[in-house]
């Protein structure tokens, strides 16, 4: 019996260690960003394309006040309600962070303290962000107004309140691979905007039981977690608009039948309207190149 106990104890320790290893937070290597100087003006474009303000401005903020990233907007889901945190450059937000901390949050979904973020924050999209864009975005966000509002806690029940579990989730769903091929410069830009910065898949792609995106049905339409209607498919078989129609919708908010954009897409169109026309055309080209069905 004594003979068995020791290997058994060793096994338990090993499994425990493996569990801790698998669920650990994996920040980025600080050296990767050393000497990388961001350009705030270029960062503004990244900021707009990534739609940061749309989720992180205070509820009800409008106009210039949308640049105060105080957090507080609520995002219901079947796992609980997530509350967007303060990401303004104050000590309640990201004021005390380094660029590497920021990159770890964006591309690995980990906080500077080494805890996991919930994937309501689209780090699974931002994980493919270019280092230069991260540095530019960082430089821009340092210029925004600081706000002292403390971040509110998420309202998430057991077992989803155990953040360690997200380490396992990340081994399943955090991937640096592209979803679609892109063989022209325009398709590559469109892919970078759709799959990464604008994180379109977060709403337009259905999710599995664990909340991971079903990339086999990429942008194929999904239930609306807010419960209002259904989020449409962007595949050519469902969205039969011309590329010009898509680009014009992203600029003006008008559908080809001159109905106007609604719901959360209003904020998305507000962002796309501020990007260069070439970016809207690139998104349209990418969507037209998606699988038909």
């Amino acid at each position: 019996m004594r003979k068995l106990l020791i290997p058994l104890a060793a096994l338990i320790v090993l499994i425990g260690a493996a569990g801790l290893w698998l669920t650990r937070a994996q920040p980025v290597d600080a050296a990767r960003f050393e000497g990388l100087e961001g350009d705030a003006a270029a960062g503004e474009t990244v900021f707009i394309a990534a739609g940061c303000a749309s989720c992180h401005h205070a509820p009800e903020a409008e106009g210039e006040a949308e640049l105060v990233l105080a957090g507080g907007q609520r995002f219901p889901s079947e796992f609980g309600t997530f509350v967007a945190p303060n990401i303004s450059p104050s000590s309640e937000g990201i004021g005390d962070w380094t660029l590497a901390d920021f990159a770890g949050a964006l591309t690995r979904g980990v906080s500077p303290e080494g805890t996991h973020y919930y994937p309501a924050f689209p780090y699974t999209a931002y994980t493919r962000m270019a280092d230069a864009d991260i540095a530019d975005l960082w430089a821009y966000m340092r210029t925004l107004p600081a706000d002292p509002t403390p971040s509110a806690a998420h309202e998430v029940g057991f077992p989803f309140n155990i953040r360690r579990g997200l380490g396992l989730w990340n081994t399943l769903y955090l991937s640096e691979d592209w979803v679609m091929p892109a063989d022209t410069a325009e398709l590559e830009r469109g892919r970078y905007l759709v799959e990464v910065l604008a994180h379109c898949g977060e709403c337009h792609t259905p999710r599995g039981a664990l909340g991971g995106l079903d990339t086999g049905d990429w942008l194929g339409g999904a239930a609306n977690p807010a419960g209002d209607g259904r989020i449409p498919s962007l595949r050519p078989g469902a969205l039969d608009w011309s590329a010009n129609d898509i680009a014009y919708y992203l600029e003006s908010g008008f559908t080809p039948a001159y109905d106007s954009v609604g719901g959360h897409m209003v904020a998305v169109v507000d962002n796309f309207a501020q990007l260069p026309a070439g970016d809207r055309a690139a998104v349209a080209a990418y969507l037209k190149a998606l699988p038909e069905g």
Binding site: S252, G253, F254, A257, S260
Partner: protein
């Protein structure tokens, strides 16, 4: 007792008629938005480059936008004609908690239409910038008062 029985009987007769009572306002307001969309389409297709710019047509469409937005829309939104009470409408109950705001947002659309009316005859390049405020007025109202499509 007799009175209350009569009241219940009257209710029983009245209830099925309620949805029909809103048939006119629903058709009226949806028609109104359709007229807006058709005229916006004339201008939008020119702005987009899908049709040739035609100053007269653009001006006519812009004049129509102004004419329609000068109608007070509130008679088309009687209380109880929301998407929780009725099928075939996406009008959210929030409208009737903020009727004044609905009026203000409609007035914003009127202002944007007037801006379009001023420049619609000045060439294709003038259309895009004038469409911006029109689109924003649509969005601002739909964002709060219209449900997403099913």
């Amino acid at each position: 007792m007799i009175r209350s029985t009569a009241f219940v009987a009257a209710l029983a007769i009245a209830t099925p008629a309620v949805a029909q009572d809103f048939d006119g306002p629903l058709k009226g307001r949806q028609g109104m938005f359709q007229i807006l969309a058709i005229n916006l389409g004339i201008i939008g297709d020119m702005a987009k480059g899908e049709t040739e710019y035609d100053a007269e047509q653009a001006q006519m469409a812009a004049d129509n936008l102004v004419a329609i937005t000068s109608i007070n829309p509130l008679p088309l939104f009687p209380e109880g004609s929301d998407n929780e009470a009725l099928d075939g409408t996406r009008a959210l109950p929030a409208i009737w908690e903020n009727v004044d705001d609905l009026g203000a947002k409609w007035a914003d659309l009127g202002e944007a239409a007037a801006g379009m009316q001023e420049v619609a005859g000045n060439g294709r390049e003038a259309l895009g910038p004038a469409l911006g405020p029109v689109g924003n007025a649509c969005k601002n109202c739909h964002d709060e008062y219209r449900a997403s499509p099913e």
